[in-house]
């Protein structure tokens, strides 16, 4: 599903050039649950952004379903994103002006799903997440865990093949954190591919593969118990 070759990302400002990712070769098959770990600033989020096509690599190749996408235009990337990828962020990133229902509905709007279909699918997801009573609330009126559940619901509603989660539990206490992890696990069991960045070794264990990043390189890949160097 995902394959990168010598993926490189360099950030330049007027004074400094920072290499965030250096020659990363990485592969994810459909149905996998990959956890990415590593210290702050090692390039985890950069990698996730590149995989999610929120950003273009500086060099290297990126195959998404065997299609080389690293030089795609913004519009092409946006199209691929909306059909295939759901995002979950550490800081939830719900839109303050929209209600729970409207936040979840958002991806469907950009996929040009009809109004009746939208209603059906949003309600379905909300039921699954037990969010129905909160449907008219605004994000400010919810707890952190509830907000992240809305965010997961929003990532799910478009039936994406891939969910990218950037420290989804980072802003949550342990109870809420586990709740979210269970949710992701269940999704993975139902066939959704998940790539998740996390600081927590415990949550990383939910994945069936752990990738360690350091200074822009992949240093180890750990397949549930087995060690690859």
């Amino acid at each position: 599903m995902i394959k990168t070759k010598n993926l490189k990302k360099i950030y330049t400002t007027e004074e400094v050039e920072t290499t965030a990712l250096n020659k990363v070769n990485f592969e994810v098959k459909e149905g996998e649950f990959v956890a990415i770990m590593g210290p702050s600033g090692c390039g985890k989020s950069t990698l996730l952004n590149l995989l999610g096509m929120l950003d273009n690599p500086s060099d290297g190749e990126y195959y998404f379903f065997d299609q080389e996408v690293s030089r795609f235009s913004e519009r092409q990337r946006a199209n691929l994103r909306k059909e295939n990828i759901g995002f979950v962020f550490q800081s939830f990133n719900l839109i303050d002006e929209l209600t729970v229902y409207e936040n979840i509905e958002l991806p469907l709007l950009y996929q040009k799903v009809s109004a009746s279909d939208r209603k059906k699918r949003v309600t379905e997801v909300m039921e699954k997440m037990q969010m129905i009573p909160r449907k008219k609330h605004f994000p400010q009126q919810l707890s952190g865990g509830q907000q992240q559940r809305v965010a997961v619901a929003r990532a799910l509603v478009g039936n994406p093949k891939l969910i990218l989660a950037d420290e989804p539990t980072g802003n949550l206490d342990s109870t809420h954190g586990e709740e979210v992890m269970e949710l992701l696990s269940k999704l993975n069991e139902n066939g959704t591919t998940i790539i998740m960045v996390t600081h927590s070794p415990a949550y990383a264990e939910y994945g069936n593969r752990i990738v360690h990043l350091f200074d822009g390189h992949i240093i180890t890949e750990n397949m549930k118990g087995k060690f690859h160097v």
Binding site: N49, L54, N93, I95, D96, Y110
Partner: protein, 789 residues
């Protein structure tokens, strides 16, 4: 999607009330100004455009070279010209002469008498001009020499009806043009955007009979209008008629050209034979002002939206992550600006409705918001344009965020963005400062003109026309008037003191060399002219009742004596128009034209018996009301109950600078609005900056900064921007002001303090605006702000 966008826009408005209202007020004020100016400009541009054959309707103009070699452009042409053009030029479909009149005559039916101003026109008048005839046929109404076509209003006044009066007779009393005429047609009052508000039309055939000179090619009095056949090449036609007059008159200093009739109003000024603008300058000026005020309002929107971008980062990031294209986001943000602009339009329309009466008073127009298709489309268009302009920069800026970056909560404000925002503020204040300086200069110049010593005393002088019984009994009348208590003196003169179109170089004097080419202006006057106006005598005397040879005497102004190079002029004899005249006096220079003109050589001749003389009466200060009442009573007795219609010379004089006066008032309002809207934006920006820097302010306070230090910190940035604006605007306004003042022969000097006070006023306003926010920020308890960390 539309619903979603609307929803998010409304919730945004609700959450950011202050910037919403700043934008709403700014945009609605800007749009209201733009609408008012649009109505005015549209009206100006449509003056005289209502004639059906507007594009074929031309006036024949005449260029004449004077003794100094300058070309003067005239509207009057020889009487036979119209017919000759119609006969000899195949391009001409219709041609008519029109003789205008400068004073009113009296139209009577039975014992009903009404004053009216007439014109004598060729038979095809109604084929050329599209005045609507409600009675009579356009090809027939002017065919009989004694026909008269009257306006609907005149008909109602004198017959109390417009029905069944065709063929009825009316009496017309006006010097040699008096007689009995029959009504052949009635026309509807010309629309208000017609420069020619005709009342009463007689035939040119009749005029020719009474004024024989008009049958010659040498006498230039009527105007000539033509309809050219469709497809006529104007340049070629101009070439063809250029020498037309020379062939007829055998003099080589006249040449003819045509000008589109509807251009007369806006492009009426000619300098040395070349079209040199006219009212169009004001049309352009105000269009630019409207654009600038709109731009200022748009900039507020741009600046507030982009300054608050950090609040929208998340939205942009998330939407892009879920697959929104940049285009979709731009549509959303443009939609937001369009929505607020159209909301502002509703308020603007209400404002315009409220302000129109005052605006009409200032501009002297009858503008109204009549929503026809044109107006609706234009208004919607202006609003669309405004919305797109104000939304464009924010839309491009916000939709361009990199989702990966903004989702981390980082907003890399690049130097160029900061400069763009600062540049926009600088632009706003540059415009405001230029407008403030203009207000200063225009006001000073107008005040200068009004207080300028004209070389005579224009106060408390009333003027009226010599008409009715006064024609014959002027001397008696003036004698009696002088005996009315409160009247200090009285006299008569021609032409007006505000517009002197005379001129001659047929003057010779002792010692004149062939190279001496002096062009003189002249005035005709009665006894006591110099005394009534209070013109200062330099030497000699004025015309006297004690001698009977006043006709052969002449009085010069100082400039004339200097130009002729005469020493001890009094008593010397010169030759004028082939007659000997003795110089009896020299007066100090006085202004007999507007202050656009400098004082030229001039002479005064004794000739009180001309038609059309202006009568002037000087009244004692403090007794104006009672004296005028007495004068009125006396006038009515003397002049068969004719109404006494008079003007103050001072008002007449003010009317010369009517456009300037209007510009002065309007520029004051528009400058006020520009600075107000600019400050509104600054207010919003300052509030936002204070909010954004609240942590910094708190830390500074904790570290010991005084409240004043904080105020200075926050005001400093904006002060620098305003100083940059001043540095740009002051030199620019200097050049604009200088250019405008160059129109006047007599003008104020541009003094440094106009610019210094503008700078100070601007800075004070800005400090006040920003200061309010800064003080609020400085007063806040630092603990409150730091706790949010």
């Amino acid at each position: 999607m539309l619903k979603h966008n609307l929803l998010i826009i409304f919730r945004k408005f609700k959450r950011n009330k202050s910037s919403f209202f700043i934008n709403l007020i700014g945009l609605s004020t800007g749009l209201a100004c733009a609408l008012l100016i649009y109505l005015w400009v549209n009206d100006e541009l449509n003056v005289d455009k209502f004639h059906e054959k507007d594009s074929q309707l031309f006036q024949v103009m005449k260029n004449t070279k004077n003794a100094e070699g300058r070309i003067l452009t005239f509207e009057w042409t020889p009487g036979p010209l119209a017919n000759a053009l119609a006969e000899e030029m195949p391009e001409v479909e219709y041609a008519v002469p029109v003789q205008f009149s400068t004073k009113e005559g009296i139209l009577s039916v039975g014992d009903k008498h009404i004053k009216a101003k007439e014109q004598y026109v060729g038979k095809d008048h109604f084929n050329i001009f599209s005045y609507h005839l409600i009675q009579g046929y356009k090809n027939k109404v002017l065919t009989d020499k004694y026909a008269v076509v009257i306006s609907e209003e005149l008909a109602k006044k004198i017959f109390h009806t417009t029905e069944n009066i065709i063929g009825k007779t009316v009496e017309w009393e006006k010097d040699k043009f008096s007689g009995t005429f029959f009504v052949s047609g009635i026309f509807e009052r010309p629309p208000s955007n017609s420069t020619d508000q005709i009342e009463l039309l007689f035939t040119f055939e009749f005029y020719k009979e009474k004024e024989a000179a008009v049958n010659t090619w040498q006498y230039n009095a009527p105007s000539t209008y033509v309809i050219l056949k469709k497809g006529t090449n104007i340049d070629q036609f101009n070439k063809k008629i250029g020498n037309f007059l020379q062939e007829k008159t055998k003099v080589d200093y006249h040449s003819l050209f045509i000008r589109q009739y509807s251009d007369k109003y806006l492009y009426g000024k000619y300098e040395n034979g070349v079209q040199a603008g006219g009212r169009i300058a004001y049309v352009r000026l105000f269009s630019i002002i409207a654009l600038f005020i709109l731009a200022i309002a748009c900039i507020n929107f741009m600046n507030l939206s982009t300054a608050k971008a950090s609040r929208r980062m998340k939205e942009v990031g998330v939407k892009k992550a879920v697959g929104a294209s940049r285009k979709a986001l731009m549509v959303q943000y443009l939609g937001e600006s369009l929505l607020i602009t159209y909301l502002s339009l509703l308020i603007a329309i209400i404002l315009v409705e409220l302000l129109l009466p005052q605006f009409n008073e200032i501009t002297g127009k009858h503008l109204a918001l009549n929503f026809n298709v044109n107006l609706i489309l234009s208004v919607l268009g202006i609003t669309l344009f405004t919305g797109l302009i104000s939304g464009s920069y924010p839309a491009i800026y916000l939709s361009g965020f990199n989702p990966a970056t903004v989702l981390k909560g980082k907003l890399n404000t690049s130097i160029s963005e900061l400069w763009a925002r600062k540049g926009l503020v600088i632009f706003q204040f540059t415009i405001s400062v230029i407008l403030i300086v203009s207000v200063f200069v225009v006001h000073k110049q107008i005040a200068f003109i009004q207080s300028k010593n004209l070389g005579f005393d224009k106060d408390n002088i009333i003027c009226f026309k010599k008409e009715g019984k006064l024609e014959k009994g002027l001397e008696t009348f003036l004698y009696e008037v002088k005996n009315i208590p409160g009247v200090l003196n009285a006299s008569c003169h021609l032409p007006n003191l505000t517009a002197n179109r005379t001129g001659t170089d047929w003057v010779s004097w002792e010692g004149k060399s062939p190279e001496d080419k002096v062009f003189f202006k002249y005035l005709f006057a009665g006894y006591d002219f110099i005394e009534t106006l209070g013109i200062e005598a330099k030497e000699g005397r004025s015309f006297s009742r004690k001698i009977s040879t006043n006709d052969s005497k002449i009085i010069f102004n100082e400039t004339a004596i200097k130009s002729m190079g005469l020493t001890n002029p009094v008593g010397k004899t010169i030759n004028l128009w082939g007659e000997r005249k003795q110089i009896i006096g020299v007066v100090k220079d006085f202004h007999f034209e507007s202050l656009y003109e400098d004082i030229k050589p001039c002479f005064v001749l004794f000739m009180p018996n001309l038609d059309n003389m202006n009568i002037i009466v000087k009244i004692k200060t403090g007794m104006e009301r009672a004296t005028i009442a007495r004068l009125q009573k006396f006038y009515k007795e003397f002049n068969l109950g004719l109404p006494f219609e008079f003007k103050f010379l001072d008002d007449d004089y003010q009317a010369l600078y009517e456009s300037e006066g209007r510009v002065a008032v309007l520029s004051r309002y528009f400058a006020g609005i520009a600075i107000l809207v600019s400050c509104l934006g600054l207010f919003g920006l300052a509030a936002f900056t204070a909010q954004k820097r609240f942590k910094e302010i708190a830390i500074r306070k904790v570290l010991g900064s005084s409240g004043f230090g904080i105020v200075r910190l926050l005001s400093g940035d904006f002060t620098r921007l305003v100083i940059v604006s001043l540095l740009i605007a002051l030199p620019v306004s200097y050049f604009i002001a200088k250019h405008w003042l160059d129109n006047f022969a007599y003008r104020i000097e541009l003094e440094l303090w106009y610019f210094i006070s503008t700078a100070l006023i601007t800075l004070l306003i800005v400090w006040f605006t920003v200061g309010m926010q800064a003080v609020k920020a400085a007063m806040a308890n630092p603990v409150e702000s730091l706790r949010y960390e």
